[in-house]
Amino acid sequence: MTKEMLKGNVAIAEAAVRAGLNAYFGYPITPQTELLEYLSARMPELGRAFVQAESELGAVNMVYGAACTGARVLSSSSSPGISLMMEGISYIYGTEIPVVLVDVMRGGPGLGNIAPAQADYNQIVHGGGHGDMHPIVLAPANVQEAIDITYNAFDLAEKYRTIVVILADGSLGQIMEPAELPEMKPLLMRQPDWATYGAEGRPKRFLSSINIDPAKHEIFNIRMEQRWQKIIANEIRFKEYYLDDAKYAVVAFGTSGRIALSAVRSARAKGIPVGLFRPVSLAPFPEQALYELSKRLEGLLVVEMNNGQMLEDVIKITRHQTPIDFYARTGGIVPMPEEIEAAILRMVEEPVNTTEHPRDRWLARLSQELIGGS
């Protein structure tokens, strides 16, 4: 196969098509819209289902219904639309239905703006709606990774009968890079042994998230938690760069991860032994690997495009084995490599006081810089 220049949004859409997508339901929202627009032409051309729903609320419940039949189903949106989907996401999880969702994050809270951000981390990684929930969350940093993740996401969702969220951002949605698309899988109409597609020649089935009896619901929750243990054991993914001889590391995912890579390289060129740890699965988070790494480091710098949502997880995971520093831009501002490099140099030159919360230092500095005063 040869490489093509592909835009992130379009690449994700085509990878899903090639993974055997039976149906897509979505609603326009920038910076995700090309994904929907692409499929509005591509799906009918292949004789597959495409519906522009009346809202994200409609879209997620169309997904719910279609996925109950055993079909491979996708929806995509961006932060405000994902917020609207929360009810459906929780119901889908509570019904144990495999579904793949794409969140191309933008600046929030509220209507915010359409620039790239990573502030849905908590809403997706620690949320996905009410109740005890663990969607699988994968965060690609480049177009090829986005394709590979999307292509395998359906198998993953079906293997564990759960929700897989591909957490991208406006930058990954809009970027074009050479990438290779996988082969077109044959289109199947799957009939898994839990699905409701008509009880011809078999006892009837029903799919619901209701569990009126708390004792039964408790058993369900325990069973799902056991399943999560399996997912933790099997599905953790991360990328390491220049960590072999590193004394310091940057921890960052998705777009901030790839920007940090540039910063790490230029800091290395100045002789600083720094590497990059880039979690690809945010849920399950590569906890053990990060913990082991932190034990041999002199400092960690967490970089995000939010006010420090993953930071809390990193603090918890590393159990104060190593001093942690934090750098972020938020609200749709993307950090430049130079800013991250400066934060790396600061981490090395002014080792931090471990009793202080890393966010406090960052907030004080950024407030000074952007708002002024004291």
Partner: protein
């Protein structure tokens, strides 16, 4: 010969309900026209300081910059609910929403139907431009059969994508709705008629008669890929036949009111 100094007469000026800023709308877009009509009506009724506007999500999201009065800005589709909140705690204020067709008739269909059914004493200015302007011209509930948009690239196929919604007709079936009409902004005569309707809608609210809505056929030259002139012609030739300009519901108490 001594010429008498010509007396200066102001025949046209910016309504007080308008701020002195340039709008962000595309050249030829009738969002600006609709804004102006609303501002003129509010001036004429002298209710500027007693009015709270509710902006929606769409190209008119920044309407609060252009109207010189208090404004809030609702989540996508939720303006009628937010307006209800404002009106219920401030019943003596004038409350209006300004919504596009994606906002009102797609994601917000639940809220608008519920507000009209409750007979909520608010005024709704509804811009029907047959597509989603802000996000780049996708299909809206109002997109005409066969119309090409960026999410119906082969034209709206009603077999798969369903039929357009005639919102004014639909809402006029609700007992709570007191004044529901459709007008168009494609030429001066129709613009004058649109203004009268907007006045009637605010009068409905003033008299406490309940829900009022003016649907305005509007152009989106940018996403339609037309010049403003062609776009206005298209409203007349394609939209008006599908969306007849009419009074669908007029409360009897309004029958004798003349603007």
């Amino acid at each position: 010969m001594v010429q008498a100094a010509l007396e200066e007469q102001i025949v046209y000026s910016r309504p007080e309900s308008f701020t002195a800023v340039q709008t962000h709308y595309c050249p030829g877009c009738t969002h600006g026209t609709a804004h102006r009509l609303v501002a003129e009506v509010i001036d004429e009724m002298e209710i500027r300081e007693k009015t709270v506007g509710v902006a929606s999500v769409g190209c008119s999201v920044f309407a609060y910059n252009y109207f010189n009065m208090d404004f809030v800005q609702a989540p996508h589709g939720r303006a009628p609910a937010m307006a209800t909140g404002v009106k219920r705690v401030l019943p003596d204020r004038f409350v209006f929403t300004y919504q596009g067709d994606g906002d009102l008739a797609s994601i917000g269909m639940g809220e608008i139907v519920a507000a009209a059914a409750r007979g909520e004493n608010i005024t709704v200015i509804f811009i029907n431009n047959a597509n989603y302007g802000m996000t780049g011209g996708q299909m809206a509930p109002t997109t005409l059969p066969g119309q090409q948009t960026s999410s119906s690239p082969n034209g709206r196929d009603v077999e798969v994508m369903g039929f357009p919604i005639r919102t004014a007709e639909l809402l006029s079936t609700l007992d709570g709705a007191s004044y529901v009409v459709r007008r168009s902004l494609h030429d001066p005569k129709n613009i004058r008629m649109a203004k009268k309707a907007i006045r009637m809608a605010f009068e409905t609210q003033k008299q406490g008669l309940g829900f009022s809505m003016v649907e305005l056929l509007s152009v989106c030259p940018t996403n339609w890929g037309m010049t403003p002139y062609q776009a206005n012609q298209w409203v007349q030739s394609a939209m008006v036949p599908y969306y007849p300009l009419n009074d669908f519901k007029v409360h009897p108490a309004l029958a004798n009111f003349r603007v």
